[in-house]
């Protein structure tokens, strides 16, 4: 059995008296795609924000490859090999595609100058073009164009290709297919499979259960801040998953006549 790359034990997080996470636990193994499902406000985004360093947990334990870690900031998460694409998009619209791709990890000359070091603009442009080519969107996009001029789907693709480039161990996608057209959606799903096949682990939040059945290996379902179910995709079906998400009484659903 593959090793747990990421393990969350009893994470708790409250915003004032909103209990966004209540003893939430899950595991992510090497080279697998895990889907995180749940209704609006279930706590999915909050859960992944604690892993990516946006929020700090009130209690609980996060472990990376069996080692307990403390994630205080996005930088900590990135250094642990966790790349996140947030739901509320994570690009700076006024910066060029190339500068966005390397934001926070800019290639520089004379690194000893710290933050005052000059950007290696040649390298920036070269790697950006190479990356765009790898993701298959190079023909349309100029690495020097500001992100402001791109469509929503193109922006999403840029954000995803950024997560790929530093070969993160864990890639977290919060509703990556939102607002995407048919073709772009397939692009994202294909990307998820490719990344898995390359040995990375993916945590994938979505409201589209069909997508889950296309790419995921396991499913976790959240309700009101808790992880209420863990399912293996090969051993379950759409209807079961749907009913667990809504919290409907399973026996009633199974018994009653229900049209699809």
């Amino acid at each position: 059995m593959a090793e747990d790359v990421l393990r969350l034990d009893n994470l708790t997080k409250s915003f004032g008296n909103v209990h966004a996470l209540v003893n939430a636990s899950l595991t992510l193994r090497e080279g697998e795609v895990v889907a995180l499902l749940g209704d609006n406000g279930a706590g999915k985004s909050t859960l992944i924000k604690t892993i990516s360093g946006v929020h700090r947990i009130d209690s609980g334990q996060i472990s990376v490859r069996g080692r307990p870690v403390t994630i205080r900031s996005p930088r900590d998460a990135i250094e642990l090999g966790i790349e996140t694409i947030h739901q509320d998009t994570s690009l700076a619209p006024d910066l060029s595609i190339a500068r966005n791709l390397f934001l926070g990890r800019e290639p520089v000359l004379f690194g000893f100058l710290g933050v005052f070091a000059p950007l290696d603009l040649g390298e920036l442009k070269r790697s950006a073009s190479a990356l765009l080519k790898r993701v298959g969107i190079s023909k349309k996009l100029d690495a020097d164009a500001p992100v402001r001029t791109l469509s929503g789907g193109e922006r999403q693709s840029i954000a995803i290709s950024r997560a790929m480039q530093f070969s993160a161990k864990v890639i977290i996608l919060d509703e990556p297919t939102n607002n995407l057209g048919v073709e772009e959606t397939h692009g994202v799903l294909r990307f998820v499979k490719e990344v898995r096949d390359a040995g990375h682990s993916v945590l994938f939040i979505t409201h589209n259960i069909h997508h889950v059945f296309q790419v995921a290996d396991r499913i976790f379902v959240m309700r009101r801040g808790e992880v209420t179910a863990e399912l293996v995709v090969a051993e379950t079906d759409l209807l079961t998953v749907e009913s667990i998400i809504t919290g409907a009484d399973m026996s009633e659903l199974m018994g009653g006549a229900r049209h699809k």
Binding site: S52, V54, S73, P74, R75, I78, T84, H86, D88, T89, S90, L91, A92, P93, D94, L95, R99, N100, L103, G104, R105, E106, V108, L113, V115, F116, A117, P118, L119, L121, R148, T149
Partner: protein
């Protein structure tokens, strides 16, 4: 292909401002031949760097999405402190200057902390700071300007020495201004820090999610802005041998106007130092030329305001036509 490039270039705010600067200059020259006289150009260049230095810092701060209304007051406080220390306690000028800058650092740091960590808007924080700093300058001088500030020190020569080149007279501040302009261009467009500054102003949470220390960068920029305002004030006071507690009144808005007229976005993300350079010249040239062509002194703010407004309308129209092409 070439002509398309030209069209796009003309749509950039820097270039359209530059064109307008050219047109206005020509109009002033026609209106009064004295405009291009060595004396007038020397005067223009003596005064221009003092606001220009502040505008450079303000460009970076605005690009990061914040602004600072306390610069005009800091412009007065720093030299007043230095002058009092030198004249009343006989302190060495270098030490007094260091203490003056330390006060600027403290002011900038406080602005930055209140904006980033307490989460008050920079408008409110720096407006309050303006009152506090201006009040402090007035109180410690009892409202009187400190005159005959004639200090013998190598630093004084470095800050405000002058020399002649033919009929022209240059002040040291001109070289400071050129050096700082190059530095600002380097930082904003070519360094890692500049990438962070633009990203923070463009989408702060995106920058933070990539591990960019947004708060530290903003605090640093507030400090740099205060220190450069203090430097500009000191240069100005040494040039005229007097430190006045009311010096720099209204400079905050003048400086912000320079930056915005140059094409830097008031709400962050897009900053251009070259544009600011054009904006600095534009506002100084307008103020200078309007007097020369005989507009009555009391009326000239009407013209300055109208020209700034016209520039901004032009930028807005150009922006509209280029958005998402």
């Amino acid at each position: 292909m070439k002509s398309i490039h030209w069209q796009n270039a003309l749509k950039s705010p820097e270039l359209s401002s530059l064109v307008i600067l050219g047109v206005i200059t020509v109009l002033f020259v026609i209106g009064n031949g004295e405009f291009l006289s060595p004396l007038n150009i020397s005067n223009l260049l003596a005064f221009l760097p003092e606001l220009g230095i502040i505008a450079l810092a303000m460009t970076l701060l605005l690009t990061a999405g914040e602004f600072d209304l306390s610069v005009g007051a800091v412009f007065a406080l720093c030299p007043v402190m230095v002058a009092l220390l030198v004249q009343n306690t006989g302190m060495d000028f270098a030490l007094a200057l260091l203490l003056g800058f330390a006060a600027c650092v403290a002011i900038g740091f406080l602005n930055g902390i209140l904006v980033t960590k307490v989460g008050i808007s920079s408008f409110l924080v720096t407006l309050s700071m303006l009152l506090i700093v201006r009040g402090a300058a007035l109180y410690i001088t009892q409202g009187f300007p400190l005159k005959s500030l004639e200090i013998e020190h190598v630093l004084v020569t470095l800050l405000s020495g002058d020399f002649r080149a033919g009929p022209f007279r240059f002040y040291a501040s001109f070289w400071w201004f050129i050096g700082l302009t190059l530095l600002a261009i380097y930082v904003l467009d070519y360094s890692k820090l500049g990438n962070w500054i633009s990203a923070i102003g463009s989408n702060r949470s995106a920058a933070v999610a990539r591990g960019v220390p947004a708060d530290a960068v903003k605090i640093g920029l507030f400090i740099a802005t205060s220190v450069l305002a203090g430097l500009a004030g000191t240069i100005s006071a040494l040039r005229i041998s007097a430190a006045s507690p009311v010096a720099g009144t209204g400079y905050e808005l003048e400086v912000i106007a320079m930056v915005v007229v140059g094409g830097t976005a008031l709400n962050g993300g897009r900053g251009t130092v070259l544009g600011t350079l054009v904006g600095i010249f534009l506002l100084r040239v307008i103020r200078n030329g309007i007097v020369l062509v005989g507009v009555p002194g009391l009326a000239y703010n009407i013209f300055v305001g109208a020209i700034i407004l016209a520039m901004l309308v032009l930028h807005a129209l150009l922006q509209k036509n280029t958005r998402r092409t």
